[in-house]
């Protein structure tokens, strides 16, 4: 099988993040978190939905600046591990054109207990959304498209 996650780092002491155009396989990613010391596993999947702000969305296009997305993502995972004492935290984010229902982002955390796992997972997805240099363009049913968070920002000036 071809390497599914072409742009990732797995270094000693560094958490795993991938930012890639290939599909995310949550089952495969989950297996990587098995740990005999972990009593809890928590994951989050972000899916492409068909509506935003009253507009019908046909598909989403993600663009990333991968060098800094990986660096910043590793930092977020390390912060979560420190703050919530979880064993392992991984995440994957898609780039390219995604269809309705596709998995756009996945976060998985293994921890001794459920509270740490839930909190770490929530922290990671919240931070990813505001810190990673990743942009999302919505393509609408009427043929128009727009960059999420950008258009209103530009219009407000």
């Amino acid at each position: 099988m071809a390497i599914r996650y072409c742009c990732f780092r797995l270094l000693p002491g560094v958490e795993l993040i991938s930012v890639a155009a290939s599909p995310i396989d949550p089952d495969e990613l989950r297996k990587q978190l098995f740990d005999p010391a972990a009593g809890a596993y928590c994951s989050f999947e972000g899916w492409v939905r068909n509506e935003n702000d009253g507009q019908t969305v046909l598909r989403l296009e993600y663009e990333a600046y991968e060098p800094l997305a990986l660096t910043e993502g590793e930092e977020i995972l390390a912060e979560a591990k420190r703050q919530f004492l979880c064993q392992t935290a991984h995440c994957a984010h898609r780039t390219g054109m995604l269809e309705i229902g596709d998995c756009a982002v996945w976060v998985g955390v293994a921890a001794p207990h459920r509270d740490e796992a839930f909190r770490a997972c929530r922290y990671i997805i919240d931070q990813l959304k505001v810190r990673l240099p990743i942009w999302k363009k919505e393509h609408y049913v009427d043929g128009h498209s727009g960059w999420v968070n950008c258009e209103r920002c530009a219009a407000a000036t």
């Binding site: 600046y65 990813l128 240099p133 999302k136 363009k137 950008c150 258009e151 920002c153």
Partner: protein, 80 residues
């Protein structure tokens, strides 16, 4: 005057019409570079929700820029 390579992403790239360009400008900070690109391309995004990196390291708008630097201009991010 400094030679600064500027890289555009997402909406900024579409407004500029190029992925990157090298500008010879009188700039002291990252904000000066951003201002120069807005004047050059006739756009008007505020810095408020935008981010900037210099030579692949996240920076602030008042971070100094040097001759030969690469400045990356990030419009408001929207991962997830």
């Amino acid at each position: 005057m400094k030679s600064i390579k500027v890289c555009y992403f997402a909406m900024f790239r579409e407004h500029a019409g190029v992925n990157e360009e090298t500008l010879t400008i009188d700039a002291t900070t990252a904000a000066d570079v951003f201002r120069a690109t807005r004047e050059r391309h006739g756009s008007a995004e505020p810095t408020g929700h935008c981010k900037v990196a210099i030579n692949d390291v996240m920076a602030d708008w008042d971070s100094p820029v040097s001759d030969g630097d690469t400045v990356l201009l990030f419009p408001p991010v929207a991962g997830g």
